[in-house]
């Protein structure tokens, strides 16, 4: 997310089980993993990485509640208070006919709110330049990356040794 470039050391694995055991080893050796990339969501990886549960869904609920309130209150204000119109012999405040639209507004706010929040957190706004370690990460390779911008040579060789021990197919260094 920071504008400065980072020096990254990363290893590529060919199998998800290999990746999982490598992450376990890294955590046991207190190696500070920058990120893990995989072409598909690997079940059970989050607890191994020590990631806490996502809080995005809590925001989703809040956005949804805002959407429901907004939709319902706006319709009520517009159709019952500001400019009352009689539709098809229904009351001025026809609650049942508001419900589908309230539901749609809930879904809309929830979906858009979560999407925008997610993109903002990940630093993915329009015009941003993608920082791609390796194209094959989105194809068939699993990757563990370490941030080595300010690392000493001893730490870097420790990482390299770790990759070798855990069976990484390739090890590269890249500045992104």
């Amino acid at each position: 997310m920071s504008a400065e470039s980072k020096k990254v050391l990363y290893g590529l694995y060919t199998d998800e089980e290999q990746l999982k055991s490598a992450v376990k080893t890294a955590r046991q050796g207190h190696l500070d993993i920058m990120d893990v990339y995989s072409p598909f969501p690997v079940h059970g990886l989050d607890p191994i990485l020590g990631l806490s549960e996502s809080r995005l869904h809590i925001l989703g609920f809040i956005y949804g509640a805002i959407g429901a309130l907004f939709g319902f209150l706006f319709m009520s204000w517009a159709l019952a208070k500001d400019w009352p119109i009689l539709f098809g012999g229904k009351p001025y405040w026809p609650v049942p006919s508001f419900i589908p639209i309230t539901f749609e507004m809930t879904v809309l706010f929830s979906a858009w709110g979560m999407t925008i929040t997610f993109y903002t957190i990940c630093g993915m706004w329009p015009g941003v330049k993608a920082k791609i370690l390796d194209n094959r990460i989105s194809d068939d390779k699993f990757c563990i990356a370490f941030d080595v911008t300010e690392a000493e040579q001893r730490t870097i060789s420790g990482f390299k040794d770790f990759f070798k021990r855990t069976g990484a197919a390739e090890v590269h260094e890249k500045t992104i």
């Binding site: 969501p41 079940h43 059970g44 989050d46 607890p47 990631l51 806490s52 549960e53 869904h57 609920f61 098809g88 012999g89 229904k90 009351p91 405040w93 609650v95 049942p96 006919s97 419900i99 589908p100």
Partner: protein, 530 residues
């Protein structure tokens, strides 16, 4: 972990269920000896529970077939439980046979279309609308559409069960049986899907004979399915508390919880659709169904929505609540009772009106297509001869008849408009004030007071809710316990006949290691145990 678990139906459980069944039989008998018109309370209680538990068995079969057809592997560890539940359809055939015999022998007046002479143009009680529906609503079609369809379904359920038991004899996991199983399961889906609509139209929707709703079959089938699913979750947790099903993890529970959550929302969608289409369309013969229920059964009407939507929606929304046995037990129990109450709500108001109309016919009353006219009965001098309970119940609606009287004076084409206004006003009243029912009662008391009639029934009416019709009373709850015990007795009998785990199922390993991939903070990992 010992995988070869054999369920033992111990004598203590047997005794408890026997006691439950005895309670049910007593309560059923109690509601039969009560002072009631045409034994309506007895018959509605019987029909309600017979349809509910038979329907649960059907939806268990339907769900299982759907899972098998979709190559689902996760549910293999609980497959035998679905199978055992679906076998209850055999008992259901006999339970519903009693209702069918009642139709042929005119033993009950649950169905207005079954009144003798109602389709005969020369009869004083001739009803043109019902006569038009008599091609569908007649005893022959009723027999075919209830026990006939049930027999077909049971045949499929039986075949699927036999096939599943046969696989236990294989030496190694085999796909032979699985191909056969898929044929039975896939062919059951259209069979169950299409026939269940007719099944429920006949048994439940035709109680309100003049009324119809195209959403009804969906809505009531989903209600049955949720009732069954909730009971299923409760049973899994019960069996686990007894030391069985230790291989059913919170991952399986989570997926069942997702079904309970998602389909509860689907139920709400159907419930609301049915309501809104009728509310918006505003056709008198359709709207009367909801007007009756919102005015006279507000607790049932709103309670239904709270138990079946608000509770599962907010309780089961989060991931972690679906993975906790305690929360799931609580939510599933409430949803089970909620859907039982949903059927109570579908059956009781209509059956009460059908009984009142039958009473009117019996007394040689005039014909009227409008239900509100029937309610004038309690205001008529002959009302004194009416059985106590029914007179009391019909009293609150009599006020409607009074209101409706003005409409009758208007030209016919104007009637719906007048109707709409009063309904809209009533609707607001009900949504604003919970005690709309009480108001109606008061208004009624005034109305009858003006006319200076005999006051015997009005005490009954002013008491508010009448147990057995507006709310379940002791008898209803007793009958529920009885039928539930019968269902569970049969379920456990089926369960002990086969190992709880189909050890030769090719999908067994997948099911044992099933994971939803969800990680909850602070939850100990179960994956390492396998």
């Amino acid at each position: 972990m010992n995988l070869n678990t054999q369920f033992v139906f111990d004598s203590k459980l047997k005794r408890n269920l026997m006691i439950g069944m005895a309670v049910g039989a007593l309560c059923l008998a109690w509601s039969a000896v009560g002072d009631d018109a045409f034994y309506t309370r007895f018959w509605t209680n019987y029909l309600h529970n017979a349809v509910f538990f038979t329907g649960i068995a059907f939806t268990a079969m339907f769900f299982l077939s759907g899972q098998i057809t979709a190559f689902a592997g996760w549910m293999i560890v609980i497959k035998r439980l679905w199978e055992a539940m679906s076998q209850f359809m055999l008992v259901g055939i006999f339970l519903l046979l009693v209702v069918v015999i009642g139709v042929w022998g005119h033993l009950h007046h649950l169905y207005h279309w079954n009144t003798p002479g109602i389709t005969d143009p020369s009869s004083p009680i001739y009803d043109k609308i019902i006569a038009g529906k008599s091609g569908f609503l007649n005893p022959i079609f009723f027999t075919v559409g209830t026990v006939g369809f049930l027999a077909i379904w049971y045949f499929w359920a039986y075949k699927l069960r036999q096939n599943s038991l046969a696989q236990d004899k294989y030496e190694t996991p085999s796909f032979d049986y699985y191909k056969r199983e898929r044929k039975w399961a896939a062919s059951f889906l259209p069979l169950g899907g299409f026939l269940s609509t007719v099944f429920l139209w006949q048994l439940i929707m035709s109680i309100d004979t003049h009324w119809y709703s195209t959403m009804f079959a969906w809505y009531s089938t989903i209600s049955l399915f949720l009732g069954g699913l909730a009971l299923f979750i409760v049973l899994i947790l019960y069996l686990q508390s007894k030391g069985y099903l230790e291989y059913v993890t919170r991952e399986h529970l989570h997926d069942l919880g997702k079904y309970l959550f998602g389909i509860s929302i689907f139920w709400t969608y159907l419930w609301f659709d049915q309501f809104m289409l009728i509310w918006y369309g505003n056709i008198g013969e359709e709207t009367i169904y909801f007007k009756e229920r919102m005015d006279n059964y507000p607790v049932l009407f709103w309670g239904n929505l709270v138990l079946n939507f608000v509770v599962p929606f907010f309780v089961l929304m989060r991931n972690d609540t679906k993975r906790k046995a305690g929360t799931m037990f609580f939510a599933a129990l409430l949803v089970f009772l909620g859907h039982w109450l949903d059927f109570f709500y579908m059956i009781k108001p209509g059956a009460r009106i059908a009984a009142i109309e039958a009473m009117e016919h019996l007394e040689g009353g005039h014909h009227s297509g409008l239900k509100s006219d029937a309610k004038d009965l309690s205001a008529a001098p002959e009302a004194g001869e009416m059985p106590r309970v029914l007179a009391g119940v019909s009293a609150p609606v009599a006020e409607q008849g009074h209101k409706g009287g003005e409409q009758h004076a208007q030209p016919k084409e104007k009637a719906p408009a007048g109707n709409a206004e009063s309904r809209a006003a009533d609707h607001e009243k009900t949504s604003h004030e919970e005690n709309a029912h009480a108001e109606t009662q008061d208004a009624h008391a005034q109305h009858t007071g003006e006319h200076g009639e005999e006051h015997g029934h009005h005490e009954e009416a002013s008491r508010g809710f009448l147990l057995g019709y507006t709310l379940p009373g002791f008898q209803e709850i007793g009958v529920l316990i009885g039928f539930l015990s019968l269902f569970l007795f049969f379920f456990f009998r089926q369960l002990e006949r086969a190992p709880l785990l189909p050890l030769r199922d090719p999908f067994l390993e997948e099911s044992l290691h099933h994971t939803t991939g969800v990680y909850i903070d602070g939850e100990e990992s179960e994956h390492d145990h396998h």
